[in-house]
């Protein structure tokens, strides 16, 4: 939520700045040259793209990066410092930490995507219905959203974890529900904006049914900023999921989820710094990269035009 709060307030509190327009399709001629120039001026953005691609590759094909077994190691090699044989060192059972981080990408990415999907679909639906139907339905739904916003996200997630139980998927759902509110708000405001547009009025007066107005005119024009919000929320979701799995509510022990790796390494902080430092650095890099890309989508590209 952090990044969203910042941008939201920047826009509303100052009364300046436009809502994030989804202007990321390059239009017209000269688009490739423009794209090249855009990226050449932003080496950080390119690097972020590389990091995200690597993480996604690691999630789907961990074998590309490491041939070592993440779950079984040779106990003789325990607590080896990072080096040529083991890039991230080995843990107390002699397991290769780099391999565990690579294989952990799958669990963490899965949890992040589930969380986003829950927030996107549920929040989007609430916002869509509230914005399109209006009247008392809107009042009821948006009051509900206000309440969700007033419960600190992690507390809401913790309550849900208490109710649902432990596990990667359940933690992901809990994180997703906690960020439903921000999606609902953005979706509603976009639907309200789109609904008042002239083309919607035109479609109505041509006799289009409400559902075709909704699906063919309002939804496509309202969804852009919600997609941008989703990219902004990736980093937040990764952090929330890893916090919950750090607290021990994620996948059960042998599984190498990123947060779990750090909480395992915590016991050996004094003699094996790499068990906590390097997985944490991986999380931080991933979040930094997704946040950078989200910021680029959220306006930078459109503004440059």
């Amino acid at each position: 939520m952090s990044q969203v709060v910042v941008d939201d307030l920047g826009a509303t509190a100052l009364g300046a700045g436009t809502p994030a327009e989804a202007g990321f399709e390059p239009g017209g001629r000269g688009a490739p040259r423009r794209a090249v120039r855009f990226f050449l001026r932003r080496p950080g953005l390119v690097l972020s793209g590389v990091v995200v691609v690597l993480v996604v590759l690691a999630a789907f094909w961990p074998g590309l990066f490491t041939a070592q077994d993440p779950l079984h190691g040779s106990p003789a090699d325990f607590f080896q410092a990072p080096g040529g044989a083991h890039w991230f060192g080995t843990d107390e059972l002699g397991r290769d930490v780099f391999s565990r981080v690579v294989h952990g990408a799958q669990l963490s990415l899965k949890a992040t995507l589930i969380a986003l999907a829950v927030a996107f679909v549920a929040g989007g639906l609430i916002g869509l219905i509230a914005g399109f139907v209006g009247r008392w339905v809107e009042d009821v739904l948006m009051r509900f959203v206000d309440v969700l916003l007033s419960i600190p996200a992690l507390f809401l997630s913790l309550a849900l974890v208490t109710a649902l139980g432990y596990g990667t998927v359940k933690v992901a759902v809990a994180v997703g529900v906690a960020s439903v509110a921000s999606f609902a708000r953005v979706m509603r405001s976009e639907v309200l904006r789109a609904r008042q547009a002239v083309y919607v009025e035109a479609a109505r007066s041509c006799g289009a049914r409400w559902y075709s107005v909704l699906i063919r005119h309002v939804l496509p024009n309202a969804i852009g900023p919600v997609v941008v919000l989703a990219t902004l929320e990736i980093g937040t979701a990764i952090l929330a999921v890893s916090s919950l799995s750090f607290l021990g509510y994620g996948a059960p022990p042998p599984a190498p989820e990123w947060g779990t790796l750090i909480s395992d390494g915590r016991n050996y902080l004094a003699n094996a710094w790499w068990l906590t430092a390097l997985p944490g650095l991986t999380i931080a890099l991933t979040v930094l990269a997704t946040n950078r890309i989200a910021r680029a989508l959220d306006g930078e590209w459109a503004r440059q035009r």
Partner: protein, 319 residues
């Protein structure tokens, strides 16, 4: 002014009621009920007499329809009674009240650090004419919001407790024990404060009254601190209110990292053993603190910007 205050108070009460209701609903989804959790909880699984379970269920009111249970609990909650913790048997209210001071101390210290350093960073970054300094300072906040809080905490322990030996690695004792957790907690919060304040300072410095002040011969420092900062601090203040919730939540994680007593450890423990009354108490308590802080922020607004009360049509909503 009085009407403004009354309306904000009424809103706060409404939000609290709703937060209670939402937490009740969420925790009611739980398959089974706390009594069977209590009965099946022990590892020495001696079968428990069904009649005894039924009596316990009756005692806790779980045999009544959900709606009646809800009214029953709401009535008690209004009187400050959130029931008894299932795991310890102590009353939820007193458990939370005992844990609260440590957490408030931690969160307060973190907030202070966050505002001082985050705000300071924003002011310096927007004031300086040196490009490298500005760029360097402004690249820090995005870094700060990307790093997991618990990891910062662990790294601080590694560097300053184990290597340097300057601060204790865990526990609640004294000011020394407060430094590392407060710093860890302050970094993500301060980063957001810095982002918002820098953004709004840059916008404010373009305003016409800044030009006027310049034309009248005011110095740069005076313009920056007296004219721009005062006006630019409104969005930052809103964010501080919103961050109160995040601070409380992050303290759950940080208290676990540093093995500090407080609300966070109570929460983590309660979730682990599915102690529903306690978790519900924590959720409502968390919202209460969030609501109170935002109420204070809203009441401070008119002091900074008198236009807010005049424009009473404006809906002062959360977030």
């Amino acid at each position: 002014m009085r009407r403004y205050v009354i309306r904000r108070l009424a809103q706060a009460v409404g939000v609290l009621w709703a937060a209670y209701t939402v937490s009740f609903l969420v925790l009611d989804f739980l398959p089974g009920d706390p009594v069977s959790a209590m009965a099946g909880g022990g590892s020495d699984s001696t079968p428990i007499d069904p009649a005894q379970i039924a009596r316990l269920r009756h005692e806790y009111g779980f045999d009544k329809p959900v709606f009646l249970q809800y009214l029953d609990y709401l009535g008690k909650a209004l009187r400050g009674d959130f029931g008894d913790s299932i795991s310890t048997g102590r009353s939820v209210t007193s458990t939370l009240a005992a844990a609260l001071p440590q957490t408030l101390e931690l969160a307060g210290a973190a907030l202070l650090l966050a505002v001082l350093f985050g705000g300071g960073l924003a002011v310096v970054a927007t004031y300086t004419n040196r490009r490298w300094l500005r760029q360097g300072l402004l690249s820090l906040p995005p870094l700060g919001v990307s790093v997991p809080t618990f990891w910062i905490g662990l790294m601080l322990v590694e560097l300053f407790s184990f290597r340097a030996g300057w601060f204790p690695a865990f526990g609640n004792d004294g000011l020394g024990g407060l430094v590392l957790p407060a710093v860890a907690l302050a970094i993500p919060t301060g980063a957001i404060v810095a982002q918002v304040l820098a953004k709004s300072l840059l916008t404010t410095l373009d305003e016409a009254y800044v030009e006027t002040a310049k034309a009248k011969g005011a110095g740069r420092v005076r313009i920056h601190l007296r004219h721009a900062l005062r006006n630019a601090s409104l969005p930052a203040l809103t964010v501080v209110g919103l961050l109160a919730g995040q601070l409380m939540a992050n303290s759950v994680v940080i208290e676990t990292v540093f093995s500090r007593d407080g609300l966070g450890r109570v929460t983590a423990g309660a979730v682990t053993v599915q102690d529903i009354p306690l978790v519900q108490g924590v959720v409502v308590f968390g919202s209460l603190i969030f609501v109170v802080v935002n109420l204070i922020v809203d009441l401070v607004y008119p002091l900074l910007d008198p236009r807010i009360v005049v424009a009473s049509g404006r809906r002062a909503s959360f977030a």
